[in-house]
């Protein structure tokens, strides 16, 4: 089976969903991505990444409960699919392998 290539933001969003577990919806995902990456990531960037991950079949989403502070609107919860976990593991292996080879090069540079 072909490897799924992950973009930088897709990678961050997948990790955020993994970490948040049952509480992975728009706002906590955005907060988690900003906090962990140290970047000022825009909401639009995260939502587009979420949409792309859904289209790639790496995450699934379902509507949850609505609350008064949301004006009665439901939350959309995201969850990693097995293919999403597999993509994360493969991406991690690829980066680890790359760094094993380039660590010494970087030190000499």
């Amino acid at each position: 089976m072909a490897r799924t290539d992950l973009g930088d933001m897709e990678h961050l969003v997948l990790l955020a969903i993994l970490r948040l577990g049952q509480e992975a919806y728009g706002i906590p995902i955005l907060d988690e991505v900003c906090a962990r990456s140290g970047r000022d990531v825009s909401r639009a960037t995260v939502y587009v990444a979420l949409k792309r991950l859904e289209q790639k079949g790496l995450v699934t989403s379902k509507l949850g409960e609505s609350t008064p502070e949301r004006g009665g609107r439901a939350k959309r919860y995201f969850k990693l699919k097995p293919s999403g976990l597999k993509a994360l593991r493969e991406s991690r292996e690829m980066f680890l392998s790359l760094w094993r080879d380039y660590e010494s090069v970087l030190e000499k540079a």
Binding site: Y25, G26, I27, S42, R43, A44, T45, Y47, V48, K51, R52, Q55, L63, S66, T67, P68, E69, R70, G71, G72, R73, A74, K75, R76
Partner: protein
């Protein structure tokens, strides 16, 4: 009086200004309500009120709407978003059937039909061009 206060609170925290409701049309129907819910919740968390809340909601809504629209446009050239089309038709169609007369429903059907035909035409054209180009 209590009812009036409750209504004001609801408008402040859950209601949306007209400009934001218009901008929300940029967001695909399937994602619209959950996105607006996120924005309303975040605005309340940031304690935004009045004109500042309206401006913040409008700018966030426009940015996300534009981003998702561009993404959807890009996706059209990769794979027809069948799930989105069906979800959008179901959500918007339910709203039209609930609140509108027969004339409006007929106009909506003609509009949706013409858009669907245009999209199909563009997809066929792009597909043919890409096949001819060897993709």
């Amino acid at each position: 009086m209590a009812t009036q206060n409750l209504a004001t609170d609801h408008a402040e925290y859950g209601g949306l200004p007209r400009s934001v409701r218009l901008l929300a049309r940029l967001v695909p129907s399937a994602d619209r309500e959950s996105l607006l819910g996120d924005l309303v919740e975040d605005a309340a968390y940031r304690d935004l009120r009045g004109a500042r809340r309206t401006a913040w909601l409008a700018s966030e809504c426009a940015a996300v709407g534009a981003g998702l629209s561009i993404e959807r446009l890009r996706a059209w050239f990769v794979m027809p978003p069948v799930r989105e089309v069906v979800a959008g038709l179901a959500i918007d169609g339910r709203g039209v059937l609930r609140h509108s007369s027969t004339g409006v429903v007929l106009r909506a059907i003609v509009f949706v039909g013409s858009i669907a035909t245009l999209v199909l035409g563009v997809e066929l054209l792009v597909g043919s061009l890409m096949s001819a180009a060897g993709f």
